[in-house]
């Protein structure tokens, strides 16, 4: 069933002598997709690890960032390079606001309540965006310099995807540095490890969480703006992609940044490869990967055994 199309395309590729090219393109696209997923999902991973809070509305922040950039760039002519950081800022502000006014009340609740609460928020945001912006897919006007491909090592690489890899790569490195080299980073890691002890050490866990939540939402917004071109931006975005973010977080675990990073890359490549080689099964491949991983390692691929 799966082997049929796989064999056919491999044979095809081999006989045409271009199998390397196809696989490298898939690899490239998969890595770009994966890194985008990572930027989108890492805020969720930290929130879950930090406050044991399941935030299914994370995708809504991504959507907000995307639409923010669409409005700024398309309607007000703001340059694309400015639109991206603005998406980050606006979404971070919204995230911070929501955290202080709404999320704060549900931290101590059981997981089921958190799931229901955030699903409610998703429904509301989806309907609100549908009402204000219409239900059709939105496209960001990308500057001409970023359209088309450049030829690197004989493969055609989309310029936009290259940009994504560059930006996301830099962000990942910056995040890792921030976590390991700054005081805020060590406070954050302490609070993730053991909240009570961290509080006992005088770390203001509430403030750490508020800032982290805002930052994570901002990242999601940035990812949404960057990804509008590739993932498709419409009001159903949070519902469509929520599952992907959750897969990244569940498979990657919540005790590090590297876990979700590798999980995202794995899922990105898996999804692109799956959709190319077995198109009718679509997302089947990543669901299968997720289930297999979770059977093997229920705490995620990279999770440390924690006291929780």
């Amino acid at each position: 069933m799966v082997w049929g199309p796989l064999c056919v395309s491999c044979y095809d590729g081999l006989s045409r002598g271009g199998v390397d090219e196809i696989m490298l393109t898939i690899l490239f696209d998969g890595v770009a997709y994966g890194m985008l997923l990572f930027v989108l999902a890492c805020g969720l991973s930290v929130t879950l690890g930090l406050m044991n809070f399941i935030n299914l509305a994370h995708g809504a922040f991504a959507m907000a960032g995307g639409y923010c950039t669409v409005i700024l760039v398309n309607r007000y002519g703001v340059p694309f390079a400015l639109g991206l950081p603005l998406a980050f800022l606006v979404t971070a502000l919204i995230g911070g606001l929501f955290e202080r006014t709404l999320y704060v009340h549900v931290y101590a609740r059981p997981h089921l309540d958190q799931v229901l609460f955030t699903i409610g928020l998703v429904f509301m945001s989806v309907a609100a965006v549908d009402y204000t912006m219409g239900s059709s897919q939105q496209f960001v006007q990308i500057p001409d310099a970023l359209t088309g491909q450049i030829n690197v090592l004989g493969i055609g690489m989309g310029k936009y995807r290259l940009l994504i890899i560059a930006i996301c790569g830099l962000l990942t490195i910056a995040l890792q540095l921030m976590l390991t080299k700054t005081r805020f980073g060590s406070r954050l890691r302490a609070a993730v490890d053991d909240q009570r002890v961290a509080r006992g050490l005088g770390i203001n866990v509430g403030a750490v969480f508020g800032l982290t939540f805002a930052f994570g939402s901002g990242l999601a917004g940035l990812g949404g703006a960057l990804g509008a071109e590739i993932l498709g931006l419409d009001p159903t975005f949070p519902l469509k992609y929520m599952i992907y973010f959750l897969i990244v977080v569940t498979v990657g675990g919540t005790s590090s940044i590297t876990g979700p990073f590798f999980a995202s890359i794995l899922l990105g490549i898996g999804d692109v490869a799956g959709k190319y080689y077995v198109p009718k099964l679509g997302a089947f491949v990543i669901y299968a990967i997720m289930i297999v991983v979770l059977i093997w390692r229920p705490q995620g691929l990279f999770a440390r055994a924690t006291a929780k």
């Binding site: 997981h111 609460f117 699903i119 928020l121 998703v122 989806v126």
Partner: protein
Amino acid sequence: MTSPNPALTGQVSDYLKRRARWTPLEIAFWIFAFATIWLFPSKYLILKDTAILALFALSLDLILGYAGIISLGQAAFFGFAGYFAGLVAKYGFITEPVLALMAAGLVAAALGFVTSFLVLRGSDLTRLMVTLGVSLMLGEVANRYSNITGGADGLQGVDIEPVFGRFRFDLYGHNGYVYCLIVLFICFVVARRVVYSPFGLSLRAVKGNPLRSSAIGIPVKWRLVAIYTFAAGIAGIAGALLTQTTAFCSLDVFSLDRSADLLLVLIIGGTGYLYGGLIGAVIYKFLQDWIANLTPQYWQFWIGLVLVVIVLIGRDRMQAWIATALGALENIGPRTIARPAKLAAPDGK
């Protein structure tokens, strides 16, 4: 062994038996439910949908309210059995709807058994994701084999024979509703027996304290597998009912929306006392109908708002209000009505 105190023995025996007795409120509920057949002849279609939703919600209550398993994947069994029922009718493998219904339930239970091992391990989030993943995967598979399942267009050409050769399902839903209501009642009675049995009691223990449960000799894993399998079967029966009474089945049976709506039904009605799914289904359908009439396009917004508000008020408080209201109506002992069980927080709060 010392001979037991007869007075105390009598009290204990009475107490335990009274736990399981049908209360007057319950009897009134079901009399009214069946009376709706004659009271609301113009509303058969929506009543039928409510009955199916109620049965579906009951299946989730069994694992969520009684065993503490958070699942977004009951839709997998609903859809699997739904397609099964449609296909056996379409290709004439099983023509008697009641037989097909039972077969569909068994098939869904088998799927439940096979996937139950996935939910035994990991955290709440893992369980959520794995159950959702299975459900979505089945949706993808159904999409892939659209030559059999009809794909995005849905399963066409399903022709359902009259029940027992006599009662045909029609567009007005009369026979359909009676059929669904009877099936709901039968499944409910069975679920009620299960819940008040020693097995049901052990489930509540497992949900409350799995560590102590195994320390008193309960094989926790197998109990969870058993209830998950049973609940899958019930969800399957609900799915088959839908296919049989509408002569149609489509991919959205596997969607996230359906699982999310189910959770909403249960939090409106409350979990852990069996009637939550039924009451929640009625209220949900009412809400849906009412809101859809007001704002047909954006009803999702109001449902979302309802969810947010309910959580902010607190499900505990709401269930306490319901319990007080019920208690005020009933003046027989304090434990005569099965009190809505609180969902224990996973970290033991």
